[in-house]
């Protein structure tokens, strides 16, 4: 155990004994995400560094405080990357924060989310035990998949101290195409393309235009480009575009008092929600800047078979879509078993837990 890990462990054990709460944080790029909570700050950044990386194994293992920048640079040297494109927002997030938040970027619909890439974790528990789940191999069904359970847990079950994550080779080539169209036309186009063997790695609709990215072998891109049409963006412009969605620096996200993130089945038709709309993930992620009452937005999202997160402007009820009573009860029990005295990020993910 290195000194940083050791001292985090001591803090945790002390908090557990004193029944005081801890607010775990890395580079604080996602302080806005989840409920604002009280608790003594517990900084994970001291426990940093890549522990193991072998490009031919497609796995990187790093400590929780390792920054995205360091990981991305290391991977790039070997022509690899984190395919789920975690958002950096305006900073340089830590691996622990990336996994705990569980947020994925523009490639989500094609390659999967953070949880689809996490192979193993180490978890520092409330009692100060360092547990290891999963591992560094691609396939592993020994024991319950606690590593994936920790993705998006916002630290409520314990401190994620180390992560082994699957990485992928960078696509041989990428082309971004822009096609002016209405939102309805865009959703129809996404529906048409989805069932075809096209190498679409991201699809968005903002400001009256659909922007799609193709990734893969040059031969496949050329053929797909003919089928999809539109105008290719210059490489720099394309990179700027996708980064502006990934990190939410696009003006659409700026200065909004109320912004909703709806995760719905991609085929959901245009929803009756007033206010500006933008879409990502080939229609499966909808951003609605609306003043509609929260209950109404949530009702519409549920009716469509999805959920709504109040990304900005959340009130008393919090950001997240309420859980069903049975699911909530399982959350309550998991919290009780993993963190019996409720010291880890209490209330950040689920009110009261």
């Amino acid at each position: 155990m290195d000194t940083a890990l050791h001292s985090m462990r001591e803090r945790i054990v002390a908090a557990h004994h004193a029944r005081t709460s801890l607010r775990i944080h890395g580079n604080r790029t996602k302080d806005f995400y989840g409920a604002t909570i009280k608790g003594d700050p517990l900084d994970t950044r001291g426990h940093a560094g890549i522990v193991d990386y072998e490009p031919s194994e497609l796995v990187l293992t790093a400590r929780c405080g390792t920054s995205l920048e360091e990981i991305a640079l290391t991977l790039a040297k070997h022509g690899q990357f984190l395919a789920f494109e975690p958002p950096a927002f305006s900073g340089n997030p830590t691996l622990g924060g990336i996994v705990a938040a569980g947020l994925s970027g523009p490639r989500r619909a094609q390659v999967g989310a953070v949880r689809d890439f996490v192979l193993g974790t180490r978890l520092l528990t409330a009692e100060g035990e360092l547990l290891r789940f999963g591992g560094q191999v691609m396939k592993n069904v020994a024991g319950f998949d606690v590593s994936r359970l920790l993705c998006g847990s916002l630290g409520i079950l314990g401190l994620i101290s180390e992560v082994s994550i699957k990485v992928l080779p960078l696509p041989k080539q990428e082309v971004t195409l822009r096609l002016p169209m209405s939102a309805t036309e865009a959703l129809a186009a996404f529906n048409r393309w989805r069932g075809q063997p096209l190498p679409i790695s991201a699809g968005s609709w903002f400001d009256g235009a659909t922007t799609v990215r193709l990734s893969g072998a040059p031969a496949a891109l050329a053929a797909a480009q003919v089928r999809i049409g539109g105008d290719p963006l210059a490489d720099d412009d394309a990179a700027t575009w996708w980064n502006s969605l990934r990190n939410q620096t696009h003006p659409f996200f700026g200065n909004r008092t109320s912004l909703w993130r709806l995760s719905v089945p991609a085929t959901t038709p245009l929803m009756a929600i007033p206010g500006p709309l933008a879409a990502e993930w080939n229609g499966a992620l909808r951003w609605h800047a609306t003043e509609l009452p929260a209950e109404e937005v949530r009702r519409l999202a549920s009716a469509a078979g999805g959920t709504a997160t109040q990304w900005r402007g959340a009130g008393e009820d919090g950001m997240f879509h309420p859980l069903s009573p049975t699911v909530l009860e399982i959350h309550r029990k998991l919290k009780e078993r993993f963190d019996p005295r409720g010291i880890f990020n209490p209330g950040r993910l689920v009110t009261g837990l």
Binding site: E57, V141, S153, L170, R194, G195, V327, I330
Partner: protein, 516 residues
């Protein structure tokens, strides 16, 4: 460890810190009284033809694909509807009766092995494909649907379900979800966990759980991820929403021969290092090719120490380019001959041997024992040499097939259960392979599950605190421990027992392994 109570008592439903303990003995019989009470209660909620009482009706359910482990269940039920499944669960829960869900019974770790005082809940009759949505590229299916049937139903839309276990003509989606099953195309398209968008099911208390669904993200903890691969211990799945993917225009497979298994292993790493993710990347050693060739006539090079099969899919131009890349890497890695499939028929023929390796083992040997460890790819050569040594030491043959791209090994240990001592030697051989997997940084099961078979090896891979964390997950879903008890997670007592057996001269096996 306490004994299983013969009659339900008020006490029996209280929370147990370790829900694995009470029912962990699968052979513990129920009393006749208890059985009769249960039958009466089930008759009230199920039609008569859904309950199998007679011994000859129950006999076929005594084991799954791990036929060395048998146990006659107290009762078998075959509900037709989701409502009946719920009723079975609430009834068993109320009467404190263990429940073992069962799909097609092809599992290879004894996950569906019955409990002597329990009910086998077969989902075989819930076999409807509820909806194929070609626009959303999803299929909503019942758990008893066969894996291959999903792809068949999706085919008219140019879609298919990617995870393709070799058992896909028989195994059920419910079983796939419970085992997080994989297939030869998982390297590129992912395992079951990457291809299931949502499930619907019931807890042992009969409470409805809907996890995930048609949307990509869900709020709260990712309970969907933890139920996939949970071996029927957390929830009985009654419906699943699956992701379908567009059929590639073309698929071709490269078959390469190597005069050394180590070189073949290195070639696998070299392909990945070159930035290529083939649609499938499989390896067979000579013992395996020699065993399958007479049955499938795939045209394998029987002089090669190992052959690799690497598949490429996509548009014709894409495939041509990737095949050229793969060939180049294989040659540089020392392949002695390389063949590329020139037609769909030939592609399927190349694969047929790999897909029929298990049945072939069954034909050349009275019995075989299939292992399922995963190791880092780079240790493949080391593992193969170690298995070679073990063959000599245990006096048994072992043929090797691998999901090489994923580092997932299926050594098939050949033995004759009627020859004195061979079965025990095969078991020890297997356990030693698994211990080496853990030592090399891998795991004791890649896709077949722990079940009853590998429960002792779990003591090697996980510490007591880690196993307690698994019990914490278990009890959050099932406080009573009634759902598939005695499987997957060993109790402390069991590990203590196993530890005693395996301590040689005061030494635990592999003392160099980190133990927290």
């Amino acid at each position: 460890m306490q004994d299983a109570p013969r009659k339900p008592t008020a006490d029996s439903l209280r929370f147990e810190a370790n829900p694995g303990t009470r029912w962990s003995d699968l052979t513990q019989p129920a009393t006749l009284d208890h059985r009769q009470t249960l039958i009466c209660a089930l008759q009230a909620v199920l039609p008569a033809d859904c309950i199998l009482e007679r011994e000859e009706e129950r006999r076929p359910y005594e084991c799954d694909g791990l036929s060395s482990h048998t146990q006659l269940p107290m009762l078998v039920v075959l509900p037709r509807t989701e409502e009946q499944v719920r009723a079975v669960l609430t009834t068993c829960h109320a009467l404190d009766v263990p429940v073992v869900a069962r799909g097609a019974g092809t599992g290879l770790s004894g996950g569906a092995m019955p409990h002597a005082s329990g009910v086998v809940l077969s989902l075989a009759r819930l076999n409807g494909i509820l909806k194929i949505d070609p626009e959303a590229c999803t299929a909503r299916v019942q758990p008893g649907v066969r894996n291959l049937a999903v792809s068949e139903a999706a085919a008219p839309f140019g879609l298919y379900y990617a995870p393709d276990p070799s058992s896909q003509i028989a195994c059920s989606i419910g079983g796939n979800v419970a085992e997080n099953s994989g297939g030869v195309h998982c390297l590129k398209y992912g395992l079951t966990v990457h291809n299931v968008l949502g499930i619907r099911g019931f807890t042992i208390m009969g409470e409805l759980l809907e996890l995930g669904g048609g949307a990509l993200d869900s709020p709260g903890l990712d309970l969907l991820a933890v139920t996939i691969g949970s071996e029927g211990l957390l929830v009985v799945v009654t419906e699943a929403t699956l992701k379908l993917v567009p059929k590639p225009e073309l698929a071709q497979v490269v078959m390469a021969s190597f005069d050394d298994t180590g070189k073949a292993g290195d070639a696998v790493a070299a392909i990945i290092a070159a930035g290529i993710i083939p649609a499938g990347l499989e390896m067979m050693d000579r013992k395996a090719t020699v065993a399958v060739e007479p049955f499938v006539k795939a045209g394998y090079d029987l002089t090669a120490e190992a052959i690799l099969l690497a598949e490429s899919d996509g548009t014709p131009a894409e495939v041509a380019a990737e095949i050229a890349d793969i060939e180049r890497v294989l040659r540089a890695s020392g392949a002695t001959t390389i063949k590329v499939s020139q037609s769909e028929a030939e592609r399927l023929r190349f694969w047929s041997g790999r897909k029929n390796a298990f049945p072939a083992a069954g034909r050349i040997s009275p019995d075989y024992y299939c292992m399922d460890g995963t190791i880092p790819r780079k240790t493949l050569g080391r593992m193969l040499r170690a298995i070679g040594d073990m063959e000599t030491r245990f006096g048994l043959r072992c043929m090797n097939v691998f999901h090489a791209g994923d580092g997932n090994l299926h050594p098939l240990i050949l033995f004759d259960a009627n020859a004195p001592g061979e079965m025990d030697r095969a078991n020890e051989f297997g356990a030693e392979i698994l211990e080496l997997c853990v030592k090399l940084g891998g795991t004791i099961t890649g896709e077949h599950g722990v079940g009853v078979e590998k429960i002792n090896s779990m003591c090697v891979q996980f510490s007591t605190a880690e196993r307690n964390a698994f019990f914490a997950v278990k009890s959050a879903f099932d406080e009573t421990g009634l759902l598939n008890p005695g499987k997957a997670i060993p109790t402390l007592a069991r590990c203590a027992e196993y530890g005693k057996l395996h301590v040689h001269q005061g030494q635990i096996p592999h003392p160099d392994l980190p133990r927290f």
